[in-house]
Amino acid sequence: MTEQNNSLVQIRDLYKRFSISGDLLDQLQFKGGKLIRHQEYVHAINGVSLDVMPGEALCVVGESGCGKSTVARTVMGLLTPTAGQIFYRGERIDNLSDKQMLPYRKKMQMIFQNPYASLNPRMTIMETLREPIRFHNRAMSSGEIRDKIAEVMLAVGVDPSWGERYSHEFSGGQRQRISIARALAVDPEFIVADEPISALDVSIQAQVLNLMMDAQKERNLTYLFITHDLAVVEHFGTRVAVMYLGTLCELAPTKQLFSSPRHPYTQALMSAIPRLEDDRPDYIKLTGEVPTPVNLPSGCVFHGRCPHVNERCKREIPALTLLQDGTQVACHGVEENRL
């Protein structure tokens, strides 16, 4: 992969695993008369490298458990990576202390999936929005803060006179607007949105997506957009990264990915989207289920369900290779020109 120094966020060879074997006492086991320590891990991310370019909306898609949310959280510094590096405008940020991280937090904000859980029920909307502004702009007077709150509330289409209300008084769509307002309040450059519309109804999803696109245009934002909904990606994304079991299978500009998906998993995923078409199209049937990330399969993580599997796929982990048309794909079949 070529070094792109003009990218806003660089993720390099990221690994994240979570221990699931509890504390030390839980890990101790008797085996053959000996006391041994047995540890098990969930391998959530296994060597992901991504570049987020300024001004783009990079979408990360995949099924549940593929590690897309873990990527989002690790980039934001909410989780520490097990291995790998994260750069923001060329500066390494994954090993910074909380204090050193502070200036970056102002530039990077996050929108969460469930607006019912991400807004504090005991704070009024005004308080919710005031907190980040005051925290990141110590020099601001309360008058300026009030103006700023009114500005972001207007920007997301929530009446500023509702500031004294609590979050339970709003509908799901309005709450998600408020969480977007909270993210915008500190004038960030980069927003990580983790399934921001999945909890909303179709007609409300469109409203929130439009709002996010408007904000992107007006404020020149860069998005890392995590979703499982491919229809949304097709509409919203500049580029798409497809993940499976903690690895990146394919990375391509949106149009290209939708017109000619290369990785067998991407192809299956695309064909499975229910579309408004008269006749049921033939979809690529995948056999079996997604393996658990506790015991990762050897070789290509997709080999157990892949219709084009061969011996090499079972042994060797495919590397992400750049094709002529600009698609990056990790598949032996594509590399060997048999797909």
Binding site: E63, Q205, Q207, A231, S271, P274, D278
Partner: protein, 334 residues
Amino acid sequence: MPLLEVNNLEVCFGLRSGAVKALRDVSFTLERGERLGVVGESGAGKSVLGFSIINLLSRPGHISAGNVNFEGKDLASLAPEELRSIRGNRISMIFQDPMMTLNPVLTIGVQMVECLQAHRQISTSDAKRIALKRLQQVQIPSAEKRLDQYPHELSGGMRQRIVIAIGLLLDPDIIIADEPTTALDVTIQAEIMDLMLNLCEQNNVALILITHDLGVVSQVTQRMLVMYAGRIIEQGPTKEIINDAQHPYTQGLMNALPQMAIPGQKLNQIKGTMPPLQNIPTGCSFNPRCEYVMDICTKKLPPFTQSGNCLVACHMVADSQHGPQQEKLRSEEV
């Protein structure tokens, strides 16, 4: 006679703040072997409709008017014992979250045998044989082993297959599936929908599919109902509605789908949100959000108008069908 006939069904939830009508004047029919989709946003009453068909409403919810005729019997007024012989036996239900449906402390086999023995006089070994056959029908690998497993040992897709197998155990006439694939991933969803479609076709089972996903409805069902704020606003053949929706709300729902917009351009959105059920506007309940709203829409409830093979509750559609004469009549009424 249709297999199931729902007439003017009204469901009421008596709350301290007053009665809330979750369903109003809902009427539709279901033929044997037919696949019917029910779509709408959350709070539109689609799940309540599913529950009220087999009277699974729990207090304070109750059917306050109308009836549900299943082979000539009114399920709404049936005694609990009689209803129990129909529930699970003739009409079975599949819920959204398989982990909530399956009992976590019983093995799959025990749960399936229990269901069979509750409705039929049958030995445990015979029941097991039927259970095994059903598990194989829903394409569960190593089905025999699964009978002795607990729900937590299986993946989400596998659990939903088992719930479907249990739903089919007693050869029901109708399956009511309430968002059966919402908790599942797309690739698994496609498999499960395919499976349900095939099983319903093979066994001539009627399906009521409740979902918010228009894509799924368009691929699985033959007819569909669109619900808004407790009422059916449009019903007819799925193909006709998908290709040429008449009601402004249905049109809005379709147009709001990302695949309907040009990539990078704004999505077509419906302004506002669905009103809370305590506070439904007079006239057409969609009128505050409708872009074609007319004077009459805020005053009078729109009747169903036949348009093609569809029934649409919209004044605009009524006017375009019956012309200005009807318009004149109506303005006199108002």
